[in-house]
């Protein structure tokens, strides 16, 4: 089974990379890009029966730094 973890900087934490991407999009002529946030996606290949609770523990212990980041878990088939 697979799980997908999306890690993003929390709202309120300035994202310098997202800002740079936003500026670059503007420079390419894409008007109206009001905000860009850049995060990361982590795909996990897990043994059958691994619970979302276990994935949450992985996020809290290692995959995200909850001081600055939030995460979202999608449990897949």
């Amino acid at each position: 089974m697979k799980a997908t973890v999306t890690v993003m900087l929390k709202q309120g934490v300035l994202d310098p990379q997202g800002e740079a991407v936003r500026h670059a999009l503007g420079a390419l002529g894409f008007d109206g890009v009001e905000g860009v946030r850049q995060g990361k996606v982590i795909e996990l290949d897990l043994a059958e029966g691994t619970t979302e609770e276990t994935v949450r523990a992985m996020c809290d212990k290692l995959l995200a730094n909850t001081v600055i980041e939030s995460y979202r878990i999608e449990m897949g088939a």
């Binding site: 310098p16 290692l62 995959l63 730094n65 001081v67």
Partner: protein, 222 residues
């Protein structure tokens, strides 16, 4: 005074740190990240600069979960002294031994230059050798030195005089120009600038010498 310097794959300031501590009179042992114990009778642990584990996931994140990190935490929790420089500061933030986090520099570029700093407190074994408000220059060399913390944490750091060093001319976007912070018991210091790269005339400056002399001197007589 007995010190250990942690070594991770990708550490590159571990030897500089050992040289600086030894020059100040410390008895220094390097300790590999896979060890789960620190040498007995240790006074302080230094977490050096570099790019531990290639900065994968987040700077310092994997080092902070390595076997030696448990011993580091236990050392700090029993009141031991800890100095984390650059990647070492990132590791200490990731372990939770220091508050806040270091994110990508606001200007997105790796910054490598001599950096002017102000010593904000002399109330620690690390900074007692300076005058309050003294300006010093240490080299900086980092891509992720932008210090962030929530408003409550920043207020506590300021209120308790735990900002040890502040940038003069903010190079990376750090909140309140913070370059280095102390733990609540003032025995753990993390800073992005490199005092161990400013301890020899050949380095271009010796402003870091006072930090190591003060630290080793204080723990020698403790």
């Amino acid at each position: 005074m007995k010190a250990a310097v942690l070594v991770f794959p990708g550490s590159n300031c571990d030897r500089d740190m050992m040289v600086a501590l030894r020059a100040a009179g410390a008895d220094v042992t390097p300790v590999w990240h896979k060890d789960s114990d620190l040498p007995a009778g240790l006074d302080m642990v230094a977490v050096p600069g570099g790019f531990s584990f290639g900065d994968y996931l987040r700077c310092g994140a994997i080092a902070a979960k390595s076997p030696i990190a448990g011993a580091l935490r236990a050392h700090a929790e029993r009141g031991g002294y800890v100095l984390g420089v650059c990647n070492g500061f990132q590791v200490l933030a990731e372990t939770g031994l220091l508050p806040g986090a270091l994110i990508r520099n606001a200007g997105l570029k790796f910054v490598c230059k001599p950096q002017a700093l102000r010593v904000e407190t002399t109330d620690s074994v690390f900074t007692a050798g300076y005058r309050a408000g003294q300006e010093v220059t240490y080299p900086i060399a980092h891509h992720d030195g932008n210090y962030v913390a929530d408003a409550g944490t920043l207020a506590a750091l300021e209120g308790e005089g735990r900002v040890a060093f502040r940038y003069i001319g903010n190079p990376n976007g750090s909140a309140a120009d913070i370059a280095g912070v102390l733990s609540a018991n003032r025995r753990v210091l993390g800073l992005m600038p490199h005092p161990e790269r400013a301890v020899d005339a050949g380095h271009g400056g010796t402003d870091g010498t006072a930090l190591f002399r003060s630290l080793v001197g204080a723990l020698e007589t403790a």
